[in-house]
Amino acid sequence: MAGHDRWVGAGGSTAATVEAAVEEALRTALAGRDASLVVVFASPAYPLDQVATELDGRLGGVPVLGCSTAGEVATSGVSDSGLVVWALGGEGFEVATGLGEGSEEGLRSAAADAAQCAHRVESQANELLVLLADGLCGNQVEVVRGAYSVVGASVPLVGGSAGDDLAMERTQVLSGTVATSEAVVAAAISSPAPIGIGVAHGWREVGEPMLVTGSEEVEVGTIDDRPALDVYLDAFGAPEAVRADEALFVDFAVTRPIGLVRRGRTEVRYVAGADYERRTLTCIAEVPQGAAIHLLEGDEATVLDATDAACAAAIEGLDGQPPIGVLAFDCVARRAVLAEGGVQQELDRISAATGGVPVAGFYTYGEIARTRGSGGFHNQTLVVVAFA
C-alpha cells in the first residue's frame, strides 16, 4: 500500500481556554491537512458544548465526534485535564457519523439510531463502527446490543463510555454541533486497508468463584445468597474507613472489578458504586443473575503486560501492513492501578509497539470491542484500534 496518502493525526492541549486548547490540538492533529473525521476527547474542565462550537467554527462541514473523559490518552503526553484531537483523512477513508438520543431508561435505541450511519458509508473491504456513549446512562451492554441489531456481524464495533473524572455526575457525547447526555454518537469508517483491533485487560482472580444469586441488570443484590456489598468488602478485606464511608467506595472499587466467567475467558465488570443501606453493588454494565463470578484485582505489571498484548493483537490485525495511527479506549480503572509515571509508561509502550505513529484516546467508564460473537462490552480493559 506504499504511496497511499491516507493519514492519521493526533494532538493535545492543556491550554486554559477552550478556544486555545482546540486551536493547539487541531493544529498538531491536522498539520494543515483536510480531515475526513475529527474525534475529540475532552476533560470535563472544557465544557463540551463550547468545544463543539469551537470545532464547528474551525472545521466547517467536517464530521466531528467526541465525548467527555476521565483522562485523556495521547502520545503528545496529555493525560489529565486536557483536550485531545484525533483525526483521519486522505484518499480511501470514507466516513459517516450518527447521533441517537435515548432516555434515562437506557441507550439501546439511541445506539441503534446512531449506528444507522453504517448504512450511509461507502462499503469497502474494511469497515469499523466507532461508538461513544453517555457513560452514566443505563446498562451499557445495551449500547452494543443496539448497534449490533443494526449492523449485525458485518462490522466490528469499538468505542467507549464517556467519563467525568470519576465525579459520577454527568457525562456527555458530541456529534457535530450537539453536545448532550443520554445519547450515543457513532462514526462509520471504511477503508481499503486493514483495521486491527486488540483487546486485553490484565486482572487476576481473588479467591474462589461465586454465584450471583440476586441481580437486576446493573445492580447486584446478593452473591451466594449474602448481601453483595458485604461479600465484596469481606473478600477484599476492605479497611474500616471504606466500610464506614460510602464516599470512599468509588476509589476503592475502581481497582477491584468483578469478572464474569465466560467461555474460555473472563468478562470484566467495573463496580461503579454501592448502596450502603440496601447493601448492593452497582456496576456499569449488567451482571446477570445466575452468573458465576470471580472478584478480580491487578497491579502495574499485569496492566502494562495487557497493554503490550492489546497493541500486539491490533498490529497483527493489519496483515503485515504498517500502522499509520492508533485509537485507544482505556479503562479508568487500569489507570488507577498504575503508579505515578505509569500512565506515561503505558503510552510509551503503545508508542513503541505501534512504531511511533500518532495515538489518541481516553480513559473510559467502559470499553466496546466486538470482533466476533455478538457481545462486546468490556470493563477495566484496553481496546487498541490500529489503522493501516
Binding site: A125, N126, E127, R145, Y148, S149, G152, A153, S154, V155, P156, V199, A200, H201, G202, W203, R204, E205, P209, L211, G259, V261, R262, R263, G264, R265, T266, P288, Q289, G290, A291, A292, H294, L296, T302, D305, A306, A309, A310, A313, T371, R372, G373, S374, G375
Partner: protein, 583 residues
C-alpha cells in the same frame, strides 16, 4: 485473549444455562429477545434465531437476507451455511439446532467455529427451557387477553350504570361520588374551593311540545356536548335529570367561579341548528360554594335553590346561592306542611269581613270577605305569609272555595236584616282558582246553598288574572250566565286595558290603596281619571285603604262614592260584626 486473561475452565456452560433461565421472565415482554441475546453473547455466536409456527419470535445479528437464508434452511437443518454478511464473516456460518416443541426451533450460528459437545448439550437444555417458558407465556397471554376482555366488558357495564344514555354525561350517582371526593380532598389545606353550577334549560317543555321529542333529545344532547366541551379535565359535568345539568369546578374565589358561570352561559346560549330547526337555548344557572363539612347533596340543593331563584327572576341568568334562600325555602316548606294540615282540619281558615260603605250616606253597602288563617300555635297568620305557598301548591283553590261558601252563607244571613237587605259580597279569587274549571260549579253551589242572589256577589280579580286567564277561559261565559259580577282589584297597577272592561261583566273598579295614600300627588290625577272612566262605562268605583277623614272628603270631592278602609272598619270576624251591629 492475552496471557493474562483468566482462562481456567469452570463449568461455564452450566452457569450460562442458569443465566439464560434467569432471563426468562413471565412479566417482561422482551423475555424471549433477552434470552436470545444472552445465548448469543455467552456462546460468542453472531446469530440466534427463535422460530415457532413460521413466526420469528426473536433474532440476533440477522438482516432480512440472512433471515431468509436461515428460514429456508429450517427444513434440512444443515450443520452450516455460506452467509456473506461482510468483511468479518468470511467463514462458513456453523449452525446448532435445538427443537422447540413440535414446530419450533432455536438456531444458533457462529462464524468459523463449530459447536462442541458441551455447547450442543447446553443449547438443547436452553431450547427445552425456552419451549416450556413459551407454553407458559402463551397461557399467560391468553389469560391476560381474557382478563382484558372481561375488564373491557366490566368497564362498559360500569359506564352504562354511571352515565346517562342520552348525553353520555355522568349520572347523578357518579356526580355525587366525584363531588364528595372533591369536597373531602378540598380539606383542609385547600387553595381552591369547590363550586357547583346547577344549570336548567329554560322552557324545555315548549321545545318538546313544539318540535317533538326527537328534536327535544337532540337539543339536550347538543347542550350536554357544549357543557362537556366547556368543562376542563379536572371539572365534573353531569346530567341530573330531564333538562338539569351540573358542573363542578374548583376555583380560588367566588368571583372566579362567577366568571366560569358567565362564560358557560355565553357558550350555552349560542344558536343551535338541529335537523333543520334553529333553536336559541336559554339556561338559568344557580351557583353554590362548598363549605367545610358540606355534603354533595346539600351543595347541589343549594345550587338548585339559586337556579330556582334565577328562574323566578326572569330566566337566562346566574344567581349565587345565599343562605336566605334556604331559610325562605325551609319556611315555605313548613308553611306548606301546615297549610295541608289546616286544609284537612277545615276549621283554621275563616273569613274576616271588611265593610264597604257609601261615603255619601255613611251606610254599609257590602263586605269584602278576606281569608284569615287561625293557626293553633302561631295565632293569626298574615295572608302574605301563606297565600304564595297556597297558590304554589294549589291548596288555594280549596281555601277559596271554603271562603266563598262561608261568606255567601254569612252575607245571606245578614241580608235578613231590613237595613242590610241589599248587602253585597266581594270575594277574592286567586289566579289558580279562576283557572280551575270547577269554579262556576262551586260558585253556583255556594249561591244555592246560601240562597244569596248572584247579583249580590262580586268576584274580585286582578287585572293580570283577567288578561291572562279570562279571555281563554270557557267558564267566564258560565259565570256570566249565573249573573255574577266582577270587581277589578288594584285597578291602575296592571294593564288597565279598557277592552276587558267591555268584554267581561265588570261592575266595580277598585282603586288601589297606593293611589289613595298619594291623593295629594299622583293619586290626585289617577283617581279622577278612574272615576271618569267608570262613569262613562257605567261602573262603580270603590276606593281601598281609606284611613283618614281628609282622604274620605277628597274622594267624595273627586266623585268617588264607595270606599273601604280602617276609617270605616277593619276586617273583623263575623261575630264581631254581628256584635257591633247589635250594640
Amino acid at each position: 485473549m492475552s496471557g493474562h486473561d483468566v482462562d481456567r475452565h469452570h463449568a461455564w456452560a452450566l452457569h450460562v444455562l442458569t443465566e439464560v433461565l434467569s432471563s426468562l421472565s413471565l412479566t417482561d415482554d422482551r423475555s424471549v429477545d433477552l434470552a436470545a441475546e444472552r445465548v448469543a453473547e455467552s456462546l460468542d455466536a453472531e446469530v440466534v434465531l427463535v422460530v415457532r409456527s413460521d413466526t420469528v419470535l426473536a433474532s440476533v445479528g440477522l438482516d432480512r437476507a440472512g433471515l431468509e437464508v436461515l428460514l429456508a434452511a429450517t427444513g434440512d437443518r444443515p450443520a452450516g451455511v455460506e452467509l456473506a454478511v461482510g468483511p468479518l464473516a468470511s467463514d462458513r456460518l456453523e449452525l446448532c439446532w435445538s427443537p422447540l416443541e413440535a414446530d419450533g426451533v432455536l438456531l444458533v450460528g457462529r462464524f468459523g467455529e463449530p459447536f462442541d459437545l458441551e455447547e450442543r448439550s447446553l443449547l438443547r437444555s436452553i431450547g427445552r427451557a425456552l419451549a416450556l417458558s413459551l407454553v407458559v407465556l402463551d397461557a399467560l397471554a391468553s389469560e391476560r387477553q381474557a382478563r382484558r376482555e372481561l375488564d373491557d366488558a366490566l368497564s362498559v357495564a360500569t359506564h352504562r350504570a354511571t352515565h346517562d344514555p342520552l348525553t353520555g354525561l355522568p349520572s347523578r350517582e357518579l356526580l355525587l361520588e366525584r363531588l364528595d371526593r372533591r369536597l373531602l380532598a378540598a380539606e383542609p389545606e385547600r387553595r381552591h374551593q369547590v363550586f357547583v353550577l346547577f344549570i336548567d334549560v329554560d322552557r324545555f317543555k315548549q321545545v318538546n311540545d313544539v318540535h317533538g321529542h326527537a328534536i327535544g333529545d337532540l337539543y339536550l344532547s347538543a347542550i350536554a356536548a357544549r357543557l362537556h366541551e366547556f368543562a376542563a379535565t379536572d371539572e365534573v359535568c353531569a346530567r341530573l335529570a330531564g333538562d338539569e345539568f351540573v358542573l363542578v369546578t374548583m376555583r380560588p374565589s367566588l368571583e372566579a367561579a362567577e366568571q366560569v358561570a358567565a362564560d358557560l352561559l355565553i357558550r350555552l346560549v349560542a344558536p343551535l341548528e338541529l335537523d333543520g330547526h334553529v333553536l336559541v337555548p336559554s339556561v338559568s344557572i344557580g351557583l353554590a360554594q362548598g363549605d367545610s363539612g358540606y355534603e354533595a347533596e346539600s351543595l347541589i340543593d343549594d345550587a338548585d335553590l339559586a337556579m330556582y331563584r334565577a328562574k323566578q327572576e326572569g330566566r337566562g341568568r346566574i344567581v349565587v346561592f345565599d343562605p336566605d334562600l334556604r331559610r325562605a325555602t325551609e319556611r315555605r316548606a313548613q308553611v306548606e306542611a301546615d297549610l295541608r294540615q289546616a286544609v284537612r282540619t277545615s276549621t283554621e281558615f275563616v273569613p274576616y269581613y271588611q265593610p264597604v260603605v257609601d261615603m255619601l250616606t255613611g251606610q254599609v253597602v257590602g263586605f269584602e270577605a278576606l281569608v284569615r288563617w287561625v293557626h293553633p300555635e302561631r295565632g293569626i297568620v298574615p295572608p302574605d305569609e301563606f297565600i304564595p305557598a297556597a297558590e304554589e301548591t294549589g291548596l288555594v283553590v280549596e281555601i277559596d272555595a271554603r271562603m266563598l261558601r262561608a261568606a255567601c252563607a254569612q252575607i245571606a244571613e245578614w241580608r235578613q236584616r231590613p237595613e242590610w237587605e241589599n248587602l253585597a259580597l266581594s270575594v277574592n279569587t286567586s289566579a289558580r282558582s279562576f283557572a280551575d274549571p270547577g269554579l262556576p260549579a262551586r260558585v253556583a253551589e255556594a249561591l244555592d246553598l246560601s240562597g244569596l242572589p248572584a247579583s249580590a256577589l262580586l268576584l274580585e280579580l286582578t287585572e293580570t288574572v283577567l288578561m291572562d286567564e279570562a279571555r281563554s277561559s270557557d267558564h267566564m261565559r258560565q259565570l256570566v250566565e249565573l249573573g255574577v259580577s266582577l270587581a277589578v282589584d288594584d285597578f291602575g297597577t296592571g294593564f288597565s286595558s279598557l277592552r276587558y272592561l267591555r268584554e267581561f261583566p265588570v261592575a266595580v273598579l277598585k282603586v288601589d290603596r297606593s293611589f289613595v295614600d298619594a291623593l295629594d300627588g299622583a293619586g290626585g290625577v289617577i283617581v279622577p281619571t278612574v272615576v271618569g272612566l267608570a262613569d262613562s262605562l257605567g261602573l262603580a268605583v270603590t276606593a281601598e285603604g281609606v284611613e283618614t277623614e281628609a282622604q274620605r272628603d277628597r274622594l267624595i270631592e273627586l266623585g268617588c262614592v264607595y270606599a273601604q278602609g280602617y276609617l270605616f272598619g277593619r276586617p273583623m270576624a263575623a261575630d264581631a260584626v254581628t256584635e257591633r251591629l247589635n250594640a
